[in-house]
């Protein structure tokens, strides 16, 4: 763990608000991308708020046995999976047609409609994966984390993480064939 982060954690545990804000600042974007990878942009900020609420409440129990990022990413994955499961049990009353979906925030130049459609297709394909495979695909595919780190976050072995990613790739390849062949 980085030495400044260890100091921030100790201070935040003691009630230092700026120290906690620095921790949030460091991890806000990857946490947002992880929960968005599972839930989409619509619920991502709400889910990210829940993640940091749990981080704040659980700081006293964090013993430093793993990297702080490992712990936070694990909370984020659990929050995302719980919300995704709840959404499957209670689907929203109004579902948007693909054409009605709000456009994704632009990463730079204005996106072409084809690129936007491709991104929508990939996000839909991710949502269609089983939870265990999607968890690895989000951490590896979206966050580019190494398999050792992914294994620690998910509490599985490295071979299991690699195996789940391989299966996820196969499913995604099948679901996104038109987009792959067209590139």
């Amino acid at each position: 763990m980085e030495s400044d982060e260890a100091a921030w954690i100790a201070a935040a545990r003691a009630g230092d608000v700026p120290a906690f804000e620095r921790l949030v600042q460091r991890h806000a974007e990857p946490i947002y991308r992880i929960v968005a990878g599972h839930l989409g942009a619509g619920e991502a900020e709400d889910a990210a708020q829940e993640v940091f609420l749990r981080v704040h409440q659980g700081l006293a129990g964090f013993r430093g046995g793993c990297e702080f990022s490992t712990w936070v990413f694990r909370i984020a994955t659990n929050v995302a999976l719980t919300r995704a499961a709840r959404r499957r049990r209670h689907p929203p009353a109004v579902t948007l047609a693909p054409g009605d979906a709000p456009p994704a925030p632009a990463a730079g130049p204005a996106e072409t409609s084809a690129r936007a459609e491709r991104r929508q297709a990939v996000r839909a394909a991710l949502a269609a994966l089983p939870d265990a495979e999607r968890a690895v695909a989000v951490l590896r595919g979206l966050e580019q984390l190494p398999f050792d780190e992914i294994a620690r976050i998910l509490g599985i072995s490295r071979p299991a993480a690699e195996s789940r990613m391989a299966r996820a790739r196969e499913r995604l390849r099948t679901l996104l064939r038109p987009w792959i062949e067209g590139t």
Binding site: F20, Q25, P30, R118, Q144, L172, L176
Partner: protein, 147 residues
């Protein structure tokens, strides 16, 4: 150790698998001001209380479902025993009835023997009486002496 490029929103230059490229391209870019809003929300005591009660509700719902499932299982099991019990006698009742039958058989046998004993005595007594009537010296009747 985390990949140093993990926090960057840009697309890495070398991505061999087209799936990897598609996934990276599909990353949702966080909106501006996100960190400040998240920190504010995390420090909100009301939000913390709402989360606590929400977690409590979830735990209570899970416990209720588990209790209902256990109750249904017990009821189903009892029904199964009840319906199965009507078709054939329960082993315990069967054992009791067998024991009762054996006991009655024993008593019958005892009674029979008792009656037979009484009857035997009566018969022996009758035989002795008849024998006495025929022989003047009742003591010679069973002595075995030859005259």
């Amino acid at each position: 150790m985390s990949d140093p490029t993990a926090d960057k929103a840009g697309i890495p230059d070398e991505v061999a698998d087209p799936i990897d490229r598609l996934l990276v391209e599909a990353r949702i870019v966080p909106p501006p001001g996100l960190a400040a809003r998240l920190a504010r929300a995390a420090l909100d005591r009301d939000a913390g209380r709402r989360l606590f009660w929400s977690d409590l509700g979830q735990a209570a719902r899970k416990a209720l479902v588990a209790a209902l499932a256990a109750s249904l299982f017990i009821v189903g099991f009892d029904l199964g025993l009840l319906l199965g019990g009507r078709q054939q006698p329960k082993p315990a009742a069967l054992a009791v009835r067998t024991a009762e039958r054996a006991e009655r058989a024993e008593l019958d046998e005892v009674a029979r023997l008792a009656i037979s004993s009484a009857a035997l005595e009566t018969q022996i007594g009758g035989d002795l009486a008849r024998s006495s009537a025929r022989s003047p010296h009742p003591s010679d009747a069973g002595s075995g002496k030859e005259h």
